[in-house]
């Protein structure tokens, strides 16, 4: 009986996991880029942050 490969994930799961990803295939490369759905700042201070 073949052992089930627990590490194997479906293509769809891989896509979901990686989000943006670069793929190397036997023939060449391609990459899918998804912009953010909403506006974002880099994390900065604020809120309850103590001022030193």
């Amino acid at each position: 009986m073949r052992k089930k490969n627990k590490n194997k994930i479906t293509r769809k799961e891989a896509l979901k996991t990686m989000g943006k990803y670069a793929a190397m295939t036997a023939v060449g490369t391609f990459m899918i880029l998804n912009p953010n759905r909403t506006h974002a700042n880099s994390a900065v201070g604020g809120g309850d942050n103590p001022i030193s």
Binding site: T25, F30, I32, N34, N36, R37, H39, A43, V44, G45
Partner: protein, 367 residues
């Protein structure tokens, strides 16, 4: 779908999913065949027989997924009206626009205000109002049109991002559909044109932008760089530059009373940071600039020879697209792709900031 060649790659936009696909010349035939043959068996038959069937199928499934309509709406938009009782106000003056920021808690205000507090004015006149709030459920914001959003504590950076964007709309008197995107980038200019600095967090783009500002360049935007769809120009966003603890020594000589500026704790990785207000623009009547150069910034902690080489389009687009908000509009996407095809992409590796500044002097000389 729109597509164009950039260097040796083909960039394709899928409007339904608001996704960008980058292919090299070897993988492009798969996409081209898919475009001409929407039925799977026709697509498989049309491709060269030497390709394995599973490879053909894998590409077909990927392109099909990208072609499907996906939900790209703003998940934080509040559909029903929310009431925010905000008795406190701050007023800021940005160029010829006066804005009121109403808030119900210091926590809500502090979260968004530090980058803009240098614009505070005592005048109580206002053209527009933005309301921010914090309660047990998280942060809320109401813009000048009474549209409201809500975020939990984990999404504080999205609350800050929305505030920045709404402020941008007020400053330039624009609406969201007019913007092509807000890039995760810093931008400086010489009074005639802009140059965009991209790079992941910690790459040194904000530090270098500050040093470029102190050497005579205009700081056009830090962290969030807005581009309008109509002209592909970068618009000025006068937010303070957030400088991380490790850059304090490099910036200190240029800022009066640097030690007295408050240091705010962000997290373990970023440590403390200080906010450096932008210097006044060379030409206060010019608030938008064309941009023909994008530089991927790579600061090295170890001393290295400064180099500027042609940037790898894949790496730069990954920084430029996947970390940014881009309008879900085919018209804007076409305009963006057209703009990209005219851009010079560079990669700058440096340790000595004076050498990096010289590189910028060569790309866009100070006038």
């Amino acid at each position: 779908m729109s597509e164009t060649y950039i260097d040796d790659y083909i960039l394709v936009y899928f409007n339904n999913s608001n996704s960008y696909l980058i292919l090299d010349t070897k993988t492009y035939p798969f996409y081209k065949t898919f475009k001409l043959n929407k039925k799977k068996h026709e697509y498989i038959d049309a491709l060269d027989k030497s390709y394995p069937i599973n490879l053909k199928t894998s590409f077909f499934n990927t392109f099909t997924d990208l072609s499907k309509k996906t939900n790209t709406s703003d998940p934080f938009l509040v559909n029903n009206d929310i009431e925010i009782i905000s008795n406190n106000s701050k007023f800021i003056q940005v160029f010829d626009q006066a804005l009121q920021i109403r808030y119900d808690s210091i926590k809500a205000l502090n979260t968004v205000y530090e980058k803009f507090s240098h614009l505070e004015t005592i005048s109580k006149h206002c053209d527009d109002t933005i309301i921010v709030s914090y309660d047990n459920f998280g942060y809320s914001l109401k813009n000048k049109n009474n549209t409201a959003w809500h975020w939990d504590d984990k999404n504080i950076h999205l609350f800050q991002g929305k505030f920045t964007f709404e402020l941008l709309n007020c400053i330039h008197n624009k609406k969201e559909p007019e913007w092509l995107g807000t890039f995760h980038a810093s931008t400086v200019g010489n009074g005639k044109e802009a140059i965009m600095l991209v790079g992941n967090s910690g790459s040194g783009k904000s530090t270098l932008s500050s040093l470029l500002m102190f050497s005579g360049y205009d700081l056009i935007a830090d962290d969030v760089t807005p581009m309008l769809g109509e002209n592909n120009h970068i618009y000025v966003l006068p937010a303070a530059i957030s400088v991380k603890e490790k850059s304090f020594e490099a910036i200190k000589p240029f800022v009066k009373d640097f030690d007295k500026l408050p240091a705010l704790y962000v997290n373990e990785t970023k440590g403390h940071q200080k906010f450096i207000p932008p210097k006044p623009l060379k030409n206060l009547n010019q608030l938008d600039y064309p941009c023909r150069n994008v530089v991927l910034v790579r600061y090295s902690h170890k001393p290295i020879k400064t180099t500027l080489k042609k940037g790898d389009i894949k790496i730069i687009l990954e920084e430029l697209i996947s970390e940014s908000w881009l309008s879900h509009s085919e018209l804007h996407a076409k305009s963006f792709i057209k703009w990209l095809s005219k851009i010079s992409f560079h990669e700058l590796r440096y340790h000595h900031s004076n050498e990096a500044i010289s590189v910028f002097n060569n790309l866009i000389p100070l006038v």
